[in-house]
Assembly symmetry: C2
Homo-oligomer: 480 residues x 2
Amino acid sequence: MRQHAARDPDTLHRHLHDVQLLLSRQRLVEGLVHRQSMAHQDLVESLVHKQHEAALGRKLERLHPADIAWILEALPFTERLLVWDLVKADKDGEILLEVSDAVRGTLIATMDRAELRAAAATLDADELADLAPSLPTGLMQEVLADLDNEERQQVHAALSYPEDTVGALMDFDMVTVREDVTLEVVLRYLRRFNALPDHTDKIFVVDRGERLRGILTLESLLISDPDTEVAAVMQGESVITFAPQDDAGSAAKAFDRYDLVSVPVLDGARRVIGRLTVADMVDYMREESEAEILGHAGLREEEDIFAPVIRSVKNRWAWLAVNLFTAFVASRVIGLFEGSIERLVALAALMPIVAGIGGNAGNQTITMIVRAIAMGQVEPSALRRLLGKELGVALINGIVCGGGVGVLAWTLYGNAGLGLVMTAAMTLNLLLAATAGVLIPLIRQRFGKDPALGSSVLITAITDSGGFFIFLGLATLFLL
Amino acid sequence: MRQHAARDPDTLHRHLHDVQLLLSRQRLVEGLVHRQSMAHQDLVESLVHKQHEAALGRKLERLHPADIAWILEALPFTERLLVWDLVKADKDGEILLEVSDAVRGTLIATMDRAELRAAAATLDADELADLAPSLPTGLMQEVLADLDNEERQQVHAALSYPEDTVGALMDFDMVTVREDVTLEVVLRYLRRFNALPDHTDKIFVVDRGERLRGILTLESLLISDPDTEVAAVMQGESVITFAPQDDAGSAAKAFDRYDLVSVPVLDGARRVIGRLTVADMVDYMREESEAEILGHAGLREEEDIFAPVIRSVKNRWAWLAVNLFTAFVASRVIGLFEGSIERLVALAALMPIVAGIGGNAGNQTITMIVRAIAMGQVEPSALRRLLGKELGVALINGIVCGGGVGVLAWTLYGNAGLGLVMTAAMTLNLLLAATAGVLIPLIRQRFGKDPALGSSVLITAITDSGGFFIFLGLATLFLL
């Protein structure tokens, strides 16, 4: 909506290339300055340098803060800081909000306290609260000291709610009116504003104690006769509202389900204390889905792709350590049967098939159950039915898949017993995978844990160790 | 915003339990009727039955279509159809739009053509186009015949754009005005509407040929002097617009980046042909992230959790088949070294560690690269830098992780050479994983393919077979 927003990736890439071109010219100039250090040359080069810098500055001035944030993320470290220096200070705050956490750190590290205070001064209370965790210690106190009393309270309020609650995401911009005035009065009142809060699709109707009486949509305001009283056209009953301690995920689902744009946030006494908008919810949904996808690969956070290697190692370590442990356990399970493998070495070649297919099928089951839980559609009472269904799927897959693999093993090694053991082990491991895939998330849910977290590691650990144990155990019993 | 929307999961669950309670009472009555078939009893029971049915109907009448959709998804097959029969016909269309594809099929299968035509008649052109693929063949022709000419063209237009384009997601509801009238005239014009299109945050300013001249936000309309002309307060330049063939994913990013609520869709001659709203984008984002998460586990679509086993088997087969093939290849790689394993059986116990850690690390790399590509921040020119970084991470992990595992293997088997081979194999397999993790998505991207699709299978296949080959190969060379 603002000027020069780049609506598609092509335009964004063009902007990025422009910036890179200007940067490379500047680097060229810097190179020249280094090589030819005669006084008069210096002057010329420094003028040319200034020219390029000015061109880059003008380019940046025309870009939307969200686009500059994107470009900063796409630039390697030195170029990023060069561009960041050239960005007009009044955009700093908004850009810091837009960049990813990883990149925000690199930008803030280059700013002194005065710059950071100036950047903070351009932000609203709710935005300040978002930025607070990234600021150097002590600075937030100085920033708070710059605010008026109401804003300071708002920042404190926003910071007091846990992450992932409505209170942490709400903003404090809103328009309120009384119910006993006419729409004409409301229209005249609005004309005294210089701007309305972003995403104003409704006006909150409150009483003298700031308690919500209803909502007046801009639609009603615009299509109704101006002589009508607010009370006559406002929605009073069954208005959707949130409490600040409500879960942000549930709020996002409500926005999705009922196509909301803005929703009032009420305290225990039904006083309007803030507002949640669809823009907050879109951000939240994107971050959640990113976290979920990164989590599947055991990554804790989004990485700055140009971050130093050591930071990336830290981000990836936790999961690898867990995996190392589970792999070691699986390895010890195999160790139990080393005697059997020595006598029938085909077991070594076949065992990864049993474990691998089990892990795959288990991941499918657990993904399905975790999603159904997230949609709120699975209750512990549905356990038997779900388990029955997943065991049915596992049985069919075991007989078909396992049967095929069994025939293959028989053909390869000319050992019908080996084929039979393979089929039986595949089927049993798939049944184990289905059971664990249903039970793990449901048990985690019952104990109030996030059913998704680490579910993939757990199921793979079970199907690996379990698969090796079942296959090698059956082989030891029946073949040796 | 509509009546009786359930804003949180608790309320939704209460609704679900109410429905289940009413259903169970009804079942009880049906049971009685079956057992005691005396004429006068029949009458009484059938009255009681009717009473419960009526109570359930009243309950459903008060619920938002999106909530009924959720309840239908959460109910097993027979209960679902019972409830579906009781839903008032005028809600049928909206509910069909809200339920998942899997559940929609089960509902449509119970409706006759007349019911489906009636349901379709309650929908807008863009909604009809969404429903079209689920309708029985031929019915769409009848539905189209019921429409007026303009609507029919709109449906055809919406159907003519490929899935995942702006054209397939846009709606056709909008308010347009001319630029040479005053805001007072616009305000009077709006008062003639009974309702504004959902998510109207701006009015499109067009010339006589329906070409976009600018946009008038409701904000400007409300805060400006009514005597002002539209042209004076409208945004004319650098308004964000889409073309119908634009990619829906890029549009969603633009909504996210610039906090948009509604955007005009223009044809080649800048005529306004439709409108995209944030509600469409929220739906799109949710579906995309679901598809991505399901895709990670190799599931093609969301499953109706109460679907028959055979449907689930089909949904899960494709991936298992691929996995079966890659597992078989890995098994044959091991087969090459059966002689070595016979001579040193510890190799069989240790080899899954090498393969497993490699797969894990490879998945981390590929997830990171795929996300960076999706954000548009990786270009082929960044290849060398990315590869360098990932190889660095792999080397550190290989030396640390692999070193630890090497010491462990040495301690367990009292064989220092085995420990060294283990460390070397882990490091090499991690380097292989890093290389493949960077190259696979970049190569797929260069050939215009989706870099994410099946990336996890591919990388695991490489690190499994590669890991076995490297470890067993090194062991054969140096230990035997």
